[in-house]
Amino acid sequence: MMQAMNIIPIFVAIPLAGSFIIAILGKRPRWAPDLISGFTTLVLLAASILAVGIANTHGVLVYSIGAWKAPIGIEMVLDGLTAFMLVTINLVAFAVSVYAVNYMEQFTSKSKFYTLFLLMLAGMNGLVVTGDMFNLFVFLEIASVASYALVAFGTEKHELEAAFKYAIMGTVASLFILLGIAILYSFTSTLNMADMASVLAQKESKNIVLMVSVLFLMGFGLKSAIVPFHAWLPDAHPSAPAPISAMLSGVLIKSLGIYALCRIFYNVIGMTAEVSSVFMFLGVLSMVVGVFLAIGQWDLKRLLAYHSISQIGYVVLGISLGTPLGVIGGLFHLFNHSIFKSLLFLDAGAVEYATGTRDLKDMGGLSAKMPATGTTNLIASMSIAGIPPFNGFWSKLIIIIATVEAGRYWYAFWAVLASLLTLASFMKVMKYAFLGALKEKWSQIKEVPVFMKLSMGVLAAICVFGGLLIIPDVADVFLNRARNVIMEGVDYAGLVLKSIR
């Protein structure tokens, strides 16, 4: 038991150590940042796969930092949902880290890039692993501050502007969240999530729960770019360097936004019918608005960014249904979306790397010159559009079935419609960018270097075989564990507190 527990602080300590070492070493020797970052993310990936096994055998594991038992000290909690998020985050991070070895040659100060990247990773891992309300805020800030700087990393006009917009909105979101935490602290007089949930269960107050729900909805809604709060995303995500776009769209909005929303609303405050219907409505709204805005775009990365909003809508819809099938669909779509959206952004980065443009009208026939990029992009496009047998199909299917089962026929209709529009939009991408005749001016371009191809290949393979995750035996280890955490709701408190004693 003790041995297994010791894995938990590793998720924060290793990326922090990696980033500090890179910061000290600087750029001498030149290969050191690449190596350290790749090694760190590889270790983290291995550890998170191990964590899935540990969460399976031990159930809920609690690590008390500094040997102070909750609620006095800070707790780290490893349960099914945490392990699920850790695998998602670290898988994408590893692929991105490999990809960046070649891609980031276009930018100066590669060591600063890796430092910020690992800090962002540490922030996300810490946020997912923690069991303390204020600690969650601190790690949220680490990840956000690192991401503001990374969006501005190119230091061109548009990048700075997008970064400023993103930074202001992100800071306002953080302030809302902190105010919510302050009100909750005053009411419950504790900061530990499990303890807070048990106090809230005993002590009813409609007004405070309403106020705190609104604050958290605005705060985490801004972080996860659900529709009324989405204005920053289409600027910020395309402006970042491609590996960071992949991280932001792939995992950052999910761990900072969706995961935190799930954890707080399901496990701490307790989900009510009104809140879940608000979430469902916002989810459907994001789904439809995102896809309609995406269709008209000609900038490849901007188009992908709008699709992120739309796909986040599916995740929110699935999770907020609250039925076992809906939650599992939402979580599965969260995982799938991380994979294929990262892959799409990496492909867009590869196109930009080879041709120097992001304008779809300018491209054409690139498949002939860049077969690896073309193939992986085709796989990812079919995944996001929901074509069998790729992973996106299965998760969308589950969400739609769950919606129909719950009697929300209109929502199911909109989900199908958004899926069709997504298909149309990605047919446009394939047609203009990769298929058709090669334009004269692109006759000299070359396929991207080996590390970029490698990471795109790995992600594409997961897209193809990702559907296997819902085979019952496999799902029992991975997805069902995460679903159980959400479904058990405020009983979370009891489980965690029991596991401390």
């Binding site: 006009k157 502007e161 400023f164 917009k165 930074a167 202001i168 306002v172 302030l175 902190l178 920053w232």
Partner: protein
Amino acid sequence: MAVYLLCFTLFLLGIYCILRKRNIIKIIIGVIISEYAVNLFFILTAYRAEGRAPIYSKSAIIENMVDALPQAVVLTSIVIGLATTALLVGIAMRIYEKYGTFDITKIRDLRG
């Protein structure tokens, strides 16, 4: 109660400044004011009537100390606020360098 409301008013003033002002530095000032308000709110919840600071001293026996936890939390959030402000000012100065203005009505190449 009235104290809480005054503090919340300060928070809303900051938010108003962020939403309505069209100058980058003013927006940063709005963020700073809101941050102050949230920190103040935390400390207000910690206050205990007739309380003493949570520090022991050799000469006096102190009972009735105020809540120490929010003070620690606010120390953390003050420094986080400073870090965010520094980064925002850094980005703002670079924007000034590129666009030659702090006015965001003139800085809108990106339309979402």
